[in-house]
Symmetry: C2
Subunit: 493 residues, 2 copies
């Protein structure tokens, strides 16, 4: 079908052809479907694009072409393009091979990853790939192919220094915000830590959301390099870098499906470390009843991380940490940042559990990189923290990320949750406390969240405050109040 081109001034990131709804109906395509586009000048070949539909504004024989199409074909307004249904992508056949139980080779996995990055696979097709990885599993060989394919279809950083280190905690534990503290301690001792983090999707806050309460987190690869060259570390949002775009896209769909195939989890973490040039990696796997994994699974995961890292020439250490309850007092971006600042500032006393865990992880890193002798890592880390050296480094990084340390304000609307009985705190449910914070507006509302007044084992009286819920608006607070009416995430008995 030939259509007259209308100019579209904005870029959609991917090639998009916007059609009148009726035109789309006529050829049997819907918003989000892929079509093939070409022009009378066949030497310019074909290009695949995504359909968008609109109810008005263009005529039935017109199409709005996004800037990448205009550029590719050298289009001017009024010229014609030809569109047709896109043929099935080659990757789809490979995905179905995996779904049927066959192992894939590097070429095949690379084709899938290439098509994901090139927007040649739809959400539905990527979902099928995730479903195949999840139901059929991936061999270690396939996982390595996946890591190499993700790196192959992305950008890499290189640092002159040898001691480039990374740290990763498996998510799921509210308040487990050790990263900013560990980065501050270790980089103040000369290690290079180009740390990229994610935003929260199913939790109340990600490290990126937390840092964003003080500084910018959205940088380009070039800017990241500059920040790290200057300060030794950074705390930026990985999604904005376009570093491993395949991984970002797969994770986005995984979150929708709430499926996290092990191979992709391993590949996602390791590929990001390799992309920033890390040679040393510390992985923290919190385990427990209301954590992402139990002890057995955590041990299995550790074995796989170690084996993979060895094959890829990486120094790795994997620690399993017990996670029966949230860490620190604040849950939510600003509330967690407050805990982090209280731990970093030698003039304040932050939550002991957050401080201890951060020191423990830092000690491990210092020992594995030779910055501390065996058994002395924890002492050196604790000293660096209490001397204020780590806090100074943290301020330096925040400044390099165009921010500064400010007094954080929490949501204007608040409500206390009181204990209904006298007794001991017997349960702090990670998942339910997380859900409460989300109902209050986290992670989108940065000043919202939950402040915990108690921890496991504490004795409380009837009427004592267990937690305070903060929200940025009355309606959000009401939603949280409605949610916690049947809330049994903190149990006193």
């Amino acid at each position: 079908m030939r259509l007259k081109v209308k100019l579209m001034k904005w870029s959609a990131g991917i090639p998009v052809v916007t059609l009148l709804e009726k035109t789309a109906d006529k050829i049997g395509v819907h918003s989000g479907d892929r079509i093939s586009v070409n022009t009378e000048n066949t030497s310019k070949g074909e290009m695949s694009a995504v359909v968008n539909t609109i109810g008005k504004y263009i005529r039935h024989d017109e199409a709005l072409a996004s800037s990448s199409l205009m550029k590719r074909f050298g289009l001017r307004a009024g010229q014609t393009i030809e569109i047709n249904l896109a043929e099935l992508s080659k990757s789809l056949f490979i995905i179905k091979k995996k779904l049927a139980g066959s192992a894939l080779n590097f070429k095949e996995i690379n084709q899938i990853i290439k098509d994901i990055v090139g927007n040649d696979l739809s959400e539905a097709e990527i979902a099928l790939f995730i479903s195949a990885m999840s139901s059929k599993g991936m061999t270690e060989k396939e996982t390595i192919f996946l890591i190499k394919a993700i790196l192959n279809n992305g950008e890499k950083l290189k640092f002159r220094e040898k001691l480039v280190v990374d740290k990763h905690s498996i998510g799921g534990i509210p308040g487990n915000r050790t990263t900013p503290i560990v980065i501050a301690i270790c980089t103040s001792l000369g290690l290079i830590m180009p740390k990229t983090s994610s935003r929260a999707i199913t939790s109340a806050a990600g490290t990126a959301d937390t840092i964003e309460t003080l500084a910018k987190v959205d940088f380009s690869m070039k800017q990241l390099k500059k920040i790290v060259d200057k300060t030794g570390g950074c705390l930026v949002w990985g999604g904005g870098l376009g570093m491993v775009p395949a991984d970002s896209k797969i994770i986005r769909i995984e979150k929708k499906l709430n499926i996290d195939p092990e191979a992709q989890l391993l590949a996602s973490i390791i590929s990001k470390k390799l992309a920033v040039g890390s040679k040393y990696i510390l992985i923290d796997i919190p385990y427990g009843k209301t954590a992402k994994v139990n002890y057995l699974k955590a041990k299995k995961l550790r074995r796989k991380f170690i084996s993979l890292a060895n094959k890829l020439g990486l120094h790795i250490q994997v620690v399993l940490t017990r996670a029966k309850e949230p860490i620190g007092n604040g849950i939510g971006p600003a509330l967690e940042m407050m805990d982090v600042l209280d731990v970093l500032d030698p003039n304040k006393s932050g939550p002991a559990d957050l401080s201890e865990k951060s020191i423990y992880l830092s000690g491990k890193i210092l020992e594995m990189t030779g910055k501390a002798k065996k058994g002395e890592g924890i002492n050196i880390a604790a000293e660096t923290l209490s001397s204020g050296k780590a806090f100074d480094k943290f301020k330096e990084i925040i400044k390099a990320q165009e921010g500064k340390i400010v007094q954080l304000e929490f949501g204007k609307f608040k409500k206390n949750i009181l204990s209904k009985r006298t007794g001991k705190v017997r349960l702090m449910d990670n998942k339910k406390i997380n859900a409460l914070a989300r109902n209050a507006g986290c992670p989108v509302d940065k000043m919202a969240g939950v402040y915990l007044h108690v921890h496991l084992g504490d004795r409380v009286k009837k009427g004592d405050k267990l937690a305070t819920v903060y929200a940025e608006s009355k309606s959000r607070l009401n939603m949280a109040i409605k949610f916690y009416r049947d809330f049994d995430g903190i149990k006193v008995r």
Copy 2:
């Protein structure tokens, strides 16, 4: 996050919130993700919506809300809405139960179908459902639940007449356009046939595309009823009716994945027949090496159709037809319509194979509905066709669908495919001939396609015409020529 509402004058069919790309990045959502929306007036509750992103035109603290949102919350421009990440849908847990191998009950299947219709499941989630049905299979009980759920979440038609009949051919055979002829024969003998058809997605033409070369095919349920009440039959596009919306949405994703789980295939066909009130159904399953199914699979499918129909109180007959090559001469919407008209018009002689198959299928329908005695169906059908009675009825239906019989013109650009040797035609590959027609522009270009000059077993000399390719533009013709350079879909030996 609170955003100021900007008015959006057009409806997207589903609730949409358009955000500035940077705003979307900041909260970690992408185009196509679901978010929850509410206002300060909490009594109005929450509504889930789909995110759209835009690069310019709105500010970072603004959102364009589609008309359904404006209506639901009684919004005016300048008011604020609150958005947050949407929680996982309930259906997702049910889908994952199926993926783990459990059978689902009616309530569960109905929840999934309800969420599909209500746009509460994303493409990725629907893909997971399809993948689960495909990999784990569905029991007959589940298939019946699926049919009932699809009907439950759609619209139904009722006719006063008792002899409401439907006919369905499993696709995949180019030129197999018996439907218009069968409908014309049977309705001219007093049967009621409210026939809905699909558009081509992976083939060169669907019945709806073919009819559209002469008449409108996009009607509402009300209009369909009117056409059938007047003429006894119709030949409309099922997708435009909104009759079984769940089915349309599932099929759309299935086509993307090129997966067609048997349960959904059965449910899709039977639910559409039930929705238009059919009591009698004839199913045609073409089988063969380059058809969708082989003989064994066809027999298995027949058994399942019969068992299902019996449990649903439907009269059914399933015929297996051999399909070693395309039917008729024309492949593509207009080219196939030409064959249909030549068969219907008693003054012309259309392709014998198309005529014979249409008569055979019509005979079966006449016998199962008692319009002909056993063994006499074929004779009556043939007579109705040769007398011109069927053609008159066809013209009546076309007129009721706001069309008329015209001389069809094919694509202006054409190219003959000549035989490279003298011999017998040994192979006519359904799939490859279909691909050739699609390269020429089918199904979007209605006047494009392939005209076959030979059939299996024909003797040809070197240089004889095997087929003619028609295209609507030079560039499309060139694509087809490029494709058929290595074309071995017609083999002479």
